[in-house]
Amino acid sequence: MASPTAVDLSAPVIEIDHVVKRFGDFVAVDDANFSIRQGEFFSMLGPSGCGKTTTLRMIAGFEQPTSGAIRLDGVDVSKVPPNKRDVNTVFQQYALFPHMNVFDNVSFGPQAQNVDKATIKKRVSEILEVVRLTEFASRRPAQLSGGQQQRVALARALVNLPKALLLDEPLGALDLKLRHAMQFELKRIQREVGITFVYVTHDQEEALTMSDRIAVMSDGRVEQIGTPAEIYENPATVFVAGFIGQANLWSATVTDRSATSATVSALGGSTLSGSCVADSVRAGAPVTLMVRPERISISMNPPCGDMQSVNAIVTDLTFQGPVVRLALSAPDGSPIIANIDPDADLPLLRPGHNVWASWAPTAACVLPDAPDQPRTLDDIVVEG
């Protein structure tokens, strides 16, 4: 297996250089520009139609960029056919060869590259051990369970020791329990072989669990790239905030702007502040204020100290096991969702009670509104 210590970990394996992909009038990928580092687990996350699979297929060579370049270890491969690119793909429905057994499926790659028989045998048995399928080598794909087929697909793609492994929603066809088990399997395998993984998914939890870095995509654009924590704590756009985890998103107007934060008026005239990095946010601009439900605490009296707070009325309570989900109504009618600890020192709350919702200023983010973003009540929601 390739040793990950022998290579420069910060060097980019894959560079996506201002790549645009159009299908007729439809822009599938709009100026994607990022690079993927050696040995990292990189995810492209977004709803269906966001361009993540098209980007993956361009890296694999099944599609060619309309403009821009894709570089593999610094070499432009935009015009190189898939069979001459040193990357391998794990397909969504595995695409195992039904007329070949597991061994022949896995050895297909090295055979195509004229590796000698003894080496093929050794490499295939090694990789089958890594994916724990040694005793299934003579089975056909149809004789295997979904999880086993998945691991054959993984072994088949890894046996060539590619520069990067591309995975297109590989866990999509598995049931929930198996999916969780495979997430750990994938991480383990990636650590063992030390190959760069490029992972496409629409499942934010999957991306947060496994990735070193995530590119969140929407409508063909890359909205944000960062570590799971960066993306969760400091989403760059309203879309990212809503797509990853749960978020309170409130309409607000900027009253003051400093280098790293902004003060806004929101929730019926309350003056609130939050961290802000977007250049487009200036005084007077309409923006969205984001606070995660678990960062909101509830008290019966106005909190003291450096806390942001608004007065609100309880509208609903839902017990959800580890947390209680509290729905509140702000003075202007905006909904506020707070996830609170069932052990919190609070009197028994009922709908209609008047409480204070508060959070640390660092828990709030001021996000620029997209120009085409609709501003309706429906838009200010907590995404599930």
Binding site: N83, F91, R140, N160
Partner: protein, 281 residues
């Protein structure tokens, strides 16, 4: 519905009777052909049952013109099958796999030879060959038969590969196989049952074709044409012998293909080792 038992019984029996009559109607000519291969005709015409004899089977090569015609027909069938299967398979693949301009029109042109009267096709080809001054014979027969066989192959292959998973090809390319290796190792083995079926159909059509071949054969005689020519002077029992032999061979081939195909699909469904049960039951 609540029908008395005797009505149900009657219905069941008459269904069997009608089905049986239908089968008798279909198979009587074949049966007669086989039966008359064991006849010892009284004159030159093997029309009327005289008595059982193996004379036709012990001396099948009695009429060299008939034997030569059969060999000529088999030669043509082999060449036509080879050419038409390759061309038709590629056409069928292209029609399913790719989107291209005028695809609908090409699809329509493709089935045209299947729907056009043979006499029209045969005659227009003859006109063409005469006008460019090509002498008719082996080559023109091949051209004529390939022309309509390609349509059969393309249509058959196209129907059989509708559900083909094209990502298997992408997977093979992705693993480093050249497009040719991908075709040889992945696409062809998986579409083989359709291709074999199309090839068998083509072979049978080629042996059998009369009208188009007759118009474009010049002085060369295929088996059907030879029978046609001979029938004015004699209908020897050897015609029945050859026909019966061809029939037996094609039935054996058809059974082999069906059995092979079943075993293959059971293998693919993973049932060979799991259980002996058949999927088709």
């Amino acid at each position: 519905m609540n029908l008395p038992n005797w009505v149900r019984a009657f219905g069941r029996i008459s269904l069997w009777v009608w089905a049986g009559l239908g089968l008798v109607f279909l198979f009587t000519p074949i049966f007669v052909t086989i039966l008359f291969s064991f006849n010892e005709p009284t004159g030159k015409y093997n029309y009327i049952w005289n008595k059982f004899s193996l004379s036709g089977w012990t001396d099948p090569l009695k009429y060299p013109e008939l034997t030569d015609a059969l060999i000529f027909s088999l030669k043509i069938a082999v060449v036509v099958t080879a050419i038409a299967t390759v061309l038709g398979t590629l056409m069928g693949l292209a029609m399913v796999k790719y989107k291209f301009r005028a695809k609908g029109m090409i699809g329509a042109i493709l089935i045209l030879p299947l729907t056009m009267p043979e006499i029209v096709l045969g005659f227009s080809l003859l006109t063409l060959f005469v006008s460019i001054n090509w002498s008719r014979g082996f080559i023109t027969i091949i051209i004529a038969q390939v022309m309509f066989s390609v349509s059969y192959v393309a249509t058959t292959v196209r129907a059989r590969i509708r559900g083909f998973d094209w990502r298997l090809e992408e997977a093979a390319l992705d693993l480093g196989a050249s497009p040719f290796r991908t075709f040889r190792k992945i696409t062809l083995p998986l579409i083989a049952p359709g291709v074999v079926a199309a090839a068998m159909l083509t072979f049978a059509l080629s042996l059998d074709d009369f009208i188009i071949t007759y118009l474009n054969s010049g002085l060369d005689n295929t088996f059907p044409i030879q029978i046609w020519n001979m029938k004015r002077s004699k209908i020897p029992v050897q015609i029945n012998v050859f026909s019966t032999a061809l029939l037996v061979i094609s039935v054996i081939l058809a059974i082999a293909v069906v059995v092979g195909g079943n075993r293959r699909s059971r293998k693919l469904a993973g049932l060979t080792e799991v259980s002996g049960a058949s999927l088709n039951s």
